[in-house]
């Protein structure tokens, strides 16, 4: 079959490893790619003492390279400590797959981002972030760059959907330029909560929609 993918990629695409969800995971993250529209969710179970990733699962709303990278990255991360797993690069994942077409780089880098985000989520949830960065407007905006605007497939910052960001004593207030009854309003609200709600110094996230 002369498709532009290696046998290894096709094997992981056909029979992806570690697919699904973990009930009550110790950490999870959802990453979406603005340009490609693909999404990856990563779930972790981490041994609290050794910090070894005991179990890892992923879900993909994506193309073949996205699914294959999700599969290989979970294989590579399983059994490693979170610090070791953090260091896994896209290149290592691509090499393990026997190479990926250059044009597919960003569909597949998403899976690597997903793993890193899940580990970060674990560290934040378990107080492992040594230098606790205070949540500022800049931090909020940086995180919102990972929230997709489903209308365009680009993130909510690039598409100027976020009109206003305020951070005041643990209260984050956002104004989203969509009517509250817009079909994607609940999605966007949920995604924003997920990206910001758990930050160590955030007590409340208020999301307002325009009329």
């Amino acid at each position: 079959m002369p498709l532009p993918y290696t046998e290894k990629v096709m094997e992981h695409f056909r029979h992806p490893k570690n697919v699904g969800r973990i009930d009550e995971p110790d950490a999870k993250a959802m990453e979406g790619s603005p340009a490609c529209g693909d999404m990856v969710a990563v779930y972790l179970k981490v041994n609290p003492d050794s910090k070894v990733i005991d179990d890892i699962k992923f879900e993909s709303y994506g193309c073949a390279s996205n699914i294959a990278t999700g599969s290989i990255i979970t294989e590579l991360a399983k059994g490693k400590t979170i610090d070791e797993a953090k260091g896994i690069t896209w290149k290592e994942a691509a090499d393990a797959l026997g190479g990926l077409p250059a044009i597919k780089a960003h569909c597949s880098v998403l899976a690597v981002d997903g793993l890193r985000a899940a580990i970060q989520n674990y560290e934040e949830r378990h107080g492992l972030v040594t230098e606790q960065e205070p949540t500022t407007v800049e931090v909020v905006i940086k995180r919102l760059k990972h929230v997709m605007n489903p209308v365009t497939g680009l993130d909510v910052i690039r598409t100027k959907l976020v009109k206003q960001v305020e951070v005041d004593e643990g209260k984050v207030r956002l104004v989203i330029d969509l009517p509250p009854n817009h079909q994607f309003a609940p999605n966007i609200r949920e995604e924003i909560q997920e990206k910001i709600g758990h930050l160590w110094d955030v007590k409340q996230v208020v999301i307002e929609f325009t009329d």
Partner: protein
């Protein structure tokens, strides 16, 4: 590829053996070029064959033979129409062109190229079924409008435009009208004696004809600059030796398309739409009635098109998708976005296009395969779990 079920007939089609038979003598016996008609008898035979293909094609269109120019395909025909009119009228009449947001790339990118050369282009919006608003078209016409280019049928979602109304409007307002009929002619008949279009793009390889040959209908008197320079072929409008076997093959391919066959194809297509829409969270893209008889375009939520394609390929089926992941530009289908769809709808959109060599049994086979593939991809998708 013998057992392979090919349902991507809007990308290209299998050549009909009867077309090849008609073409064969013009490779091995009458291989002279038409330009040699004044020098030796094989040249005369070649010229006669070319002219007979031209008049066959012209009569299928209700045109006169002198109004049909053979080209290398639909892309060249549309380039010739847009750039030829622009070069002929840009300085004399004006620099405004009207087209639609969902045209195929030959028209869309010719329009963009003309914009870079100082022309002004209006890209008409379409409604959620893919049809333009004739009132909006009328309002877009101004004193400097030189050309309206509206496709007969859409390449992805199959929506048919009311070309007769577009053509009448253009004529009332003294504006030339071009239509890209590459995806519709001759399955959806077009008669230029009744429909006053000035320029029509046609291609052979989408109706079981050979690749590399197309035609442009040019109504008599239409100002069109020559932009392929060289010899004096094709009424001195398009230089280059004529592709005589291709022209013969094109004319033969057009003759082989029948109403009965199109009805058979449409019945298969209808059955596939019915079956595909039984899959949860699916929707038909395009117009339910005004659509190409061989086109079905469906969006499935929570899954991505390239993944669907690769799984179907492993099961022996070929289809297409509007997903950004599938396109070389990594841009989602401009057609799905043009009909008001979001990135997600393009992401999970797939196109099935039928042709002469599809069998009725293929329909249930692909419908079953699609249902399986969608279910297994949804299994691994982070989306839609609650909705199930």
């Amino acid at each position: 590829m013998s057992d392979f079920v090919y349902l991507d007939n809007a990308a290209s089609t299998r050549l009909d053996e009867r077309v090849l038979e008609a073409m064969r003598p013009y490779f091995f016996e009458t291989y002279a070029v038409a330009t040699s008609q004044f020098g030796y008898s094989p040249g005369v035979e070649a010229k006669d064959a070319l002219e007979s293909a031209r008049s066959d094609l012209a009569s299928a269109l209700g045109a006169r033979a002198e109004e049909v120019v053979f080209t290398s395909g639909g892309t060249e025909s549309s380039n010739m129409a847009l750039k030829g009119v622009a070069m002929a009228l840009g300085e004399k009449k004006g620099k405004h062109i009207i087209t639609t947001r969902i045209e195929d790339f030959p028209v869309l990118n010719s329009a963009r190229a003309l914009e870079r050369m100082g022309f002004r282009v209006t890209y008409l919006n379409v409604d959620e079924t893919g049809r333009i608003d004739l009132q909006a078209l009328e309002q877009a016409i101004s004193a400097d409008t030189i050309l309206i280019s509206v496709q007969s049928a859409n390449q992805e979602i199959g929506t048919l435009q009311d070309i007769a109304a577009v053509a009448r409007l253009g004529h009332e307002r003294g504006v030339l009208v071009h239509t890209d009929a590459a995806h519709s002619f001759p399955r959806v008949p077009l008669n230029v004696a009744e429909t006053p279009v000035d320029l029509v793009t046609m291609t052979a390889h989408l109706v079981h004809g050979p690749k590399g040959v197309g035609a442009l209908y040019i109504r008599e008197g239409t100002p069109l600059a020559k932009w392929m320079d060289g010899g004096f072929q094709e009424f001195n409008l398009r230089a280059g030796e004529e592709n005589i076997p291709g022209a013969i093959g094109f004319a033969r391919a057009i003759q082989l398309v029948t109403v009965e066959e199109t009805q058979r194809i449409q019945a298969m297509r209808d059955r596939l739409i019915t079956r595909a829409l039984q899959i949860p969270h699916s929707r038909l893209n395009g117009h339910p009635v005004f659509r190409l008889p061989h086109n079905a375009n469906i969006s499935f939520r929570f899954v991505e098109g390239e993944s669907i394609l690769l799984h179907l390929d492993m099961r022996g089926f070929a289809i297409s998708t509007g997903s950004a992941c599938f396109s070389r530009s990594l841009e989602a289908s401009h057609v799905i976005l043009g009909i008001g769809g979001d990135h997600e709808r393009a992401h999970g959109s797939v196109r099935f296009t039928f042709g002469r060599f599809n069998q009725e049994r293929d329909v249930d086979a692909i419908a079953d395969a699609v249902a399986e593939v969608i279910a297994s991809l949804r299994e691994i998708s982070p989306l839609g779990k609650e909705a199930n």
